[in-house]
């Protein structure tokens, strides 16, 4: 869901859907067909791409039902390798490398889910992270998503995603596209300020 809309708005979608269908139990979610899910997205204007995201949301519920026995936590249960978790997220409709690695990172870093290794939790090619990496002088101004990913792998091979949240916050709050607030950033003293 976190695609071309603010993260806070994307994270709100499961709650908005649960309000609409009066419950977030799996049995309630399963009762909503694709057409109605898209209608909910459109009626409540949940996303910029309501048709696609409504369909993706519906397909995700079906996938959890079919592949994970109605329990999303089966995706990360049993201390799996990071590659397994990222791959499982990538199998969901509409999930690309940015969302898959971000989700794996949140599970490891924030929810403290045990994972065998962190080697395949890459940095998420997010617009804020990208800007921070460019201005810090780690990658060139015209760098691609792959350049960002490989740069983070080079800097911290055992856990490239370690830079994710810090750089996202720097890009979101201080290293803004226009009028960056360098004096508030804790990297200001050593930053290249490639603005």
């Amino acid at each position: 869901m976190d695609r071309q809309i603010k993260a806070e708005r994307a994270w709100l979608i499961p709650y908005e859907v649960s309000e609409e269908i009066e419950g977030f139990e799996f049995s309630t979610l399963l009762r909503v067909n694709q057409e109605n899910m898209i209608k909910i997205f459109k009626r409540k204007s949940l996303h910029r791409f309501n048709e696609i995201m409504g369909k993706n949301f519906y397909l995700a519920i079906r996938k959890i039902h079919n592949d994970y026995q109605d329990d999303a936590s089966n995706i990360w249960k049993g201390n799996p390798r990071s590659a397994t978790i990222v791959r499982r997220f990538l199998e969901f409709n509409g999930v690309g490398i940015k969302i898959a690695t971000m989700a794996a990172n949140i599970l490891a870093r924030d929810f403290k889910i045990p994972i065998k290794d962190y080697i395949n939790i890459d940095i998420s090619p997010d617009v804020h992270v990208m800007r921070a990496f460019k201005r810090l002088g780690f990658i060139s101004k015209d760098a691609s998503n792959d350049d960002l990913i490989y740069c983070a792998r080079e800097l911290n091979p055992m856990y490239p995603g370690i830079f994710d949240l810090s750089c996202w916050e720097i890009g979101r709050y201080w290293c803004r596209p226009n009028e960056p607030i360098c004096e508030k950033c804790y990297l200001s003293r050593c930053c290249n300020k490639n603005i």
Binding site: A7, E8, W11, L12, P14, Y15, E16, S18, F24, E25, F26, S27, L29, I64, Q69, D70, D71, A72, S73, A108, R109, D110, F111, K112, L136, G137, F138, L155, N156, Y159, I162, F163, D164, L165, S166, C167, Y186, L187, C190, C191, N192
Partner: protein, 53 residues
């Protein structure tokens, strides 16, 4: 002498490790308390069918 790139990398890795090592803290994903409650409850939501039986 440590160059500025190395300094930045070290600071960012240190920050990342700090976040990684701290115990679980309630995460504010949105500005909506009810939505955050739902998102933070990985154990119960969405509630699997087996737990309703």
């Amino acid at each position: 002498m440590i160059n500025s790139k190395e300094k930045i990398v070290n600071i960012l890795i240190e920050k990342g490790n700090e976040l990684f090592k701290q115990p679980y803290k309630y995460i504010k994903f949105t500005k909506n308390k009810e939505a955050d409650k739902l998102l933070n409850n990985l154990k119960d939501f969405p509630m699997p069918l087996s737990s309703l039986a």
